[in-house]
């Protein structure tokens, strides 16, 4: 990292070029598939082609005979040897699901693993897969949550009546009274299709027996190495100390690599049995059906509004098609509960009621994906606000200003029981409107366009609860209730600072952020700081990277550890330099008196501490290694408001984004360029979510989108230049940091949806189903019949 900086220049707030990225840009990253061990075998899975069927027989005789095949294993053969994934009993209604790592008796979605083959290479393993014959008895499939919850629907699990994996009724405040006295009641339906996180790199693992001191060493493309360690030990009946988990360079996570899946656990089981390393790399065809899907919601939403446009109450009904199993750790409750529970977003909502359901279907399980639940919660409410504004003849921005939680009302407890504080909702909205010249945009919109396109403008505001501490549950019903995360700081014998943490980055440059924070706290040059991460054998305990938490936890722990380390450094330096501690400071890795009359480099200090310690009183030399845990207790709200201008082609239904202006509050920024990348990347995914991406199943549960030609994500041509502005306010967390990984996708889905709906509304149409594919747009305009 560049070392040129002005005296006293803070590294926090500087776009430090990340050393972390150098191996990646030079082609020397080490991703999962780049790892090879001597004697390593390769696994491939036979997957169900049926959405729902009873397994009558499996004939793997020919596969077992094939040269190069080491082992073939079925679910039945694993019974009793390992513990399947049991969903946690949740405190709301809904049944539990049991997921065997390889299907036993029944398959419940296309893509479910049925058999595994271990062979000398992957191609041979796939050859063997082709030789295995499975006889199925097809069963009726559940593919629509609204049909699946009916009393006479087939059951995905006998243990889940009405196919509910979760159902929750919630009410707070007087909802009925608000609707009775409302000046206006607006209602809207909203649906959003199934999504794929679509990490460019799929999942994968290398499982190895007795590498170094561990019974099982697991390299895994994953966001949560310590959590994986815990569950590997639990399910394989090992001690947690016997398991080492390493997350190598990871080609995207976005939540998809935060769940626990069967395949990696199968490989671990096989490696222990074979006493040889076993590698599995998920290919794209597998990834499309075997890694968790996301969203897939239907929402019916009503608001009671007074004559000033203030929302008095929200009442919603939510159905989430959660797929065949309760996703392990996070549960089937995650999407349904967060969608309905976080519906109020940044707005003052005094009365809230919802009924939300996670309905099991014969599809791939739904799991976490960037900003779980909130994009659809936000988009449905933002669209409803636009409806109300139109009916009341209030400008949509003005209507939002009247409902946002203003700074002067904070701390503000919303009807979903969340406290909003230290967050700039109103300033974000005002900033995006000012930068976009919103009034001018509306004036231009009123004039007839000369290009034949229909112009739409959408403005959406969002709140994103980040950096959740132990006092705020990440989601009721999940197995995982994260606690504190630790960072170890160690001043090496060379005077270089090592930061160790189990907080993997999938591009978020977490280590760079922690380095910058440490540099400021300790006065150490960036080039004197190095990082170790992602390895449970090298880093202290931590929960890992998810839910916009990592920079908050990691930086907070760095600050805590750095303060103690600084205290130790200065105490020792005062002794060695024979000056009062209070006269000392650390600048650019040098301990010096304020007048710079006396100096001592950290290298000189560590020499004394490590190698000449006998001259130093023991209490002054406790060692230069400090581990601190950090828990922010509560979460911090981040916020944003996005303005989007679209042109809709009324002949093809194509939507082009012609302007995108975002304003965000992400708290104190550590590395502006990294943060900008997170926000713009999130917006791009949101644009894909709102306009393009959808996993499609037919009525029998067969997936129709199994390649990247079918599931279309945005290319450089679909994403406009994003104009990004900041209205930041520090959080209450150490350092004032907030999470910024997820929020922008929420704003993007809402603002793009509102812009498309605006274009259609002004031309007598509307749209309620997203993504707003060209065909849905034309249907919404009445150009195509609605049954198309």
């Amino acid at each position: 990292m560049a070392d040129t900086r002005f005296v006293n220049q803070k590294m926090v707030g500087t776009s430090v070029v990340p050393d972390e990225a150098i191996p990646l840009v030079e082609g020397e990253g080490r991703f999962l598939n780049d790892i090879r061990l001597p004697g390593m075998y390769h696994a491939a899975f036979l997957r169900s082609q049926h959405a729902h069927a009873r397994i009558l027989s499996i004939d793997a005789g020919a596969a077992r005979q094939m040269p190069g095949v080491i082992q073939v294993m079925t679910g039945k053969e694993m019974l009793g040897k390992v513990d399947p994934f049991e969903s946690m009993p949740n405190r709301f209604s809904g049944g539990q699901s049991t997921q065997h790592w390889l299907a036993v008796e029944k398959v419940r979605f296309v893509g479910e693993a049925v058999c595994v083959v271990v062979a000398e290479d992957r191609a041979i393993a796939e050859d063997a897969i082709d030789l295995i014959e499975v006889e199925y008895d097809p069963l009726p499939a559940v593919t629509d949550p609204r049909l699946g919850e009916k009393d006479d629907a087939p059951l995905v699990h006998e243990t889940c009546p009405n196919n509910y994996l979760i159902k929750r009724d919630y009410e707070r405040g007087n909802v009925d009274e608000a609707f009775e006295k409302a000046h206006l009641v607006v209602k809207r339906a909203f649906s959003i299709g199934r999504k794929q996180a679509l990490c460019l790199e799929g999942r994968g693992c290398v499982a190895a027996y007795r590498e170094s001191a561990f019974t099982l060493t697991m390299w895994m493309s994953h966001q949560l190495p310590y959590v994986v360690r815990h569950y590997l030990a639990k399910h394989l009946r090992l001690g947690e100390h016997e398991v080492r988990v390493i997350a190598p360079h990871t080609g995207g996570g976005f939540g998809q690599k935060a769940s626990i899946y069967p395949e990696e656990f199968v490989c671990a089981h096989l490696a222990l049995g074979l006493r040889r390393p076993v590698k599995w790399v998920e290919d794209r065809l597998e990834n499309m059906v075997a890694s968790t899907h996301a969203r897939d919601q239907q929402i019916e939403l009503a608001a009671a509004v007074d004559d000033q446009g203030r929302i008095l109450a929200l009442d919603s009904n939510v159905w989430v098609d959660v797929g065949a199993y309760s996703t392990y750790l996070w549960s089937a409750g995650m999407e349904p509960l967060q969608t309905a529970g976080l519906m109020p977003g940044p707005y003052q909502i005094e009365a809230l009621r919802y009924v939300t359901r996670g309905v099991a279907t014969n599809k791939t399980p739904v799991g976490p994906y960037r900003a779980v639940g909130r994009p659809s919660a936000s988009a449905s409410l933002e669209l409803l606000i636009d409806d109300a504004a139109r009916r009341l003849d209030i400008d949509p921005v003005e209507m939002r200003l009247r409902n946002l939680i203003p700074g002067e009302k904070m701390p503000y407890r919303n009807a979903n029981n969340l406290v909003h504080d230290n967050v700039n909702y109103v300033p974000c909205l005002k900033l995006t409107a000012a930068k976009a010249e919103y009034d001018k945009l509306r004036a231009e919109q009123a004039q007839a366009s000369d290009n034949g396109k229909l112009r739409g403008i959408g403005v959406a505001c969002f709140a994103e609860l980040t950096g959740l501490g132990t006092s705020t549950a990440v989601g009721p019903g999940t197995l995982l209730q994260p606690g504190r995360d630790a960072v170890t700081l160690r001043l090496e014998t060379t005077g270089v600072l090592t930061i160790a943490a189990a907080l993997p980055s999938q591009g978020q440059r977490i280590m760079t952020a922690m380095t910058q924070v440490a540099a400021d706290e300790l006065g150490i040059k960036l080039s004197d700081i190095t990082g170790l991460t992602n390895d449970t054998a090298m880093a202290p305990y931590g929960f890992g990277t998810f839910a916009s938490r990592t920079a908050v936890f990691g930086s907070g722990a760095v600050i805590k550890a750095a303060r103690e380390l600084r205290r130790r450094i200065l105490a020792l330096a005062a002794h060695l330099m024979e000056v009062p501690e209070t006269d000392l400071t650390i600048v650019d890795s040098v301990v010096q008196t304020v007048d710079r009359a006396k100096t001592m480099t950290l290298r000189e200090m560590t020499d004394q501490s490590y190698f000449s310690a006998k001259h130093i009183p023991e209490d002054l030399n406790p060692g230069f290694e400090v581990t601190s845990f950090y828990d922010p207790k509560f979460g911090s709200f981040a916020a944003g408001a996005h303005t989007v201008v679209v042109d809709v082609d009324p002949q093809t239904g194509h939507v082009e984004i012609v302007r995108y202006v975002a304003a965000e509050d992400v708290g104190t920024i550590i590395n502006p360029a990294v943060v900008e990348g997170q926000i713009i990347g999130g917006i791009a995914q949101g644009i894909g979510e709102a306009l393009m991406e959808e996993l499609v199943y037919d009525a029998d549960g067969q997936p129709k989108t199994v390649t990247l030609a079918d599931y279309t994500i945005p290319s450089a041509l679909e994403i406009p230049t994003i104009e990004l502005h900041h209205a930041n306010t520090p959080s209450a967390a150490l350092g004032g940091f907030k999470g910024c990984g997820e929020g922008s996708i929420i704003g993007a889905v809402g603002a793009v949806a509102c812009a498309v709906a605006d274009a259609l509304n002004r031309n007598g149409g509307d749209i309620t189903a997203f993504p707003a594919t060209p065909e849905r747009v034309l249907t919404g305009l009445g150009v195509l019949p609605t049954d198309s």
Partner: protein, 292 residues
């Protein structure tokens, strides 16, 4: 996602290739650019037992623009075609439409003849060949034959090639003086397979369309020649009324299938829109310099 086994041959002359293909019969596949075949091999959607790689056969890498026709050999890549000055000058429709084919890296490798032999209904080249009234030259160990484009394509991803036979060349007659072109296609993203598209060659004389050839892309069975629309256009000045009428004819004539990118009714609608856009382009060019 690794291919199943196959026998691989890379002969350096056409005669050997044709013998190998003849011996393999229906179990043989030609590997040229591989941009359609390789994904199917990787996914094991097709599992030929013999792969005949023609990339070593220099004689097939031949692109000749003569006074009467353009001859495109089996190894001519999309990138070669669209960059060739003689093609850009004499067959601008081919050069322009090629820009819509996938992306630069795919165009570096994918071949014109391969696209034609594959006959994906959403691909551009089969329809361009029909529009330009081209001919396919097929060869087998038993000899050569020339097949008019419209007889060559016979249904979704199906052609009149016999087992053991391959496309060695396609030929496009030089467009007549006064020929104007239009091409329009709609895909979710640039480079994706078309949901619908239209290619037109209108031969103008004194502001009047003497003859039009109009082909619709993306309709399920391969290139769809819109004859009824062509009849409407012949004798018109490509005026707005004629264009609308042609688009109406197209909408009523096509019978598109459906997939995740579009329903049958959406494709039918788009076929009309793309027809209008292609015709408007041709008309604009006709009124410009009569060349196009």
């Amino acid at each position: 996602m690794k291919p199943a086994w196959f026998d691989y041959h890379a002969p350096d002359n056409l005669e050997d290739a044709l013998v190998l293909l003849g011996d393999a019969g229906i179990d043989g596949r030609v590997l040229a650019g591989g941009q359609s075949l390789m994904p199917m091999l990787n996914m094991r959607i097709v599992t030929p037992s013999v792969l005949v790689d023609i990339n070593q056969i220099a004689s097939l890498n031949s692109l000749q623009a003569g006074p009467d026709e353009l001859r495109v050999g089996a190894l001519v890549r999309h990138a070669d075609l669209m960059r060739n000055p003689a093609v850009r000058e004499g067959w601008p429709l081919l050069a322009e439409a090629s820009n819509q084919i996938a992306h630069r890296t795919i165009r570096n490798r994918g071949t014109v003849c391969g696209s034609i032999a594959h006959n994906d209904p959403a691909a551009e080249h089969p329809s361009l060949l029909v529009t330009l009234d081209g001919t396919v030259v097929a060869a087998s160990a038993g000899g050569r034959r020339e097949i008019p484009a419209e007889d060559f394509f016979d249904g979704m991803m199906s052609t009149s090639l016999e087992p053991g036979e391959m496309v060695v060349e396609v030929r496009y007659p030089r467009p007549r003086k006064g020929a104007c072109f239009g091409f329009a296609e709609f895909a979710r993203r640039l480079g994706d397979f078309a949901i619908a598209g239209a290619a037109v060659m209108a031969t103008m004389n004194g502001g009047v369309c003497e003859q039009a050839r109009l082909t619709i892309i993306g309709m399920g069975d391969g290139p769809f020649r819109a004859r009824a629309a062509e009849t409407v256009l012949a004798g018109s000045t490509l005026d707005a009324v004629a264009i609308t009428a042609a688009a109406d004819e197209v909408r009523s004539a096509v019978d598109p299938g459906e997939d995740v990118h579009g329903s049958s009714s959406y494709r039918r609608h788009l076929a009309g829109v793309m027809t209008e856009r292609a015709l408007e382009q041709a008309m604009t060019r006709a009124r410009g310099d009569g060349n196009g």
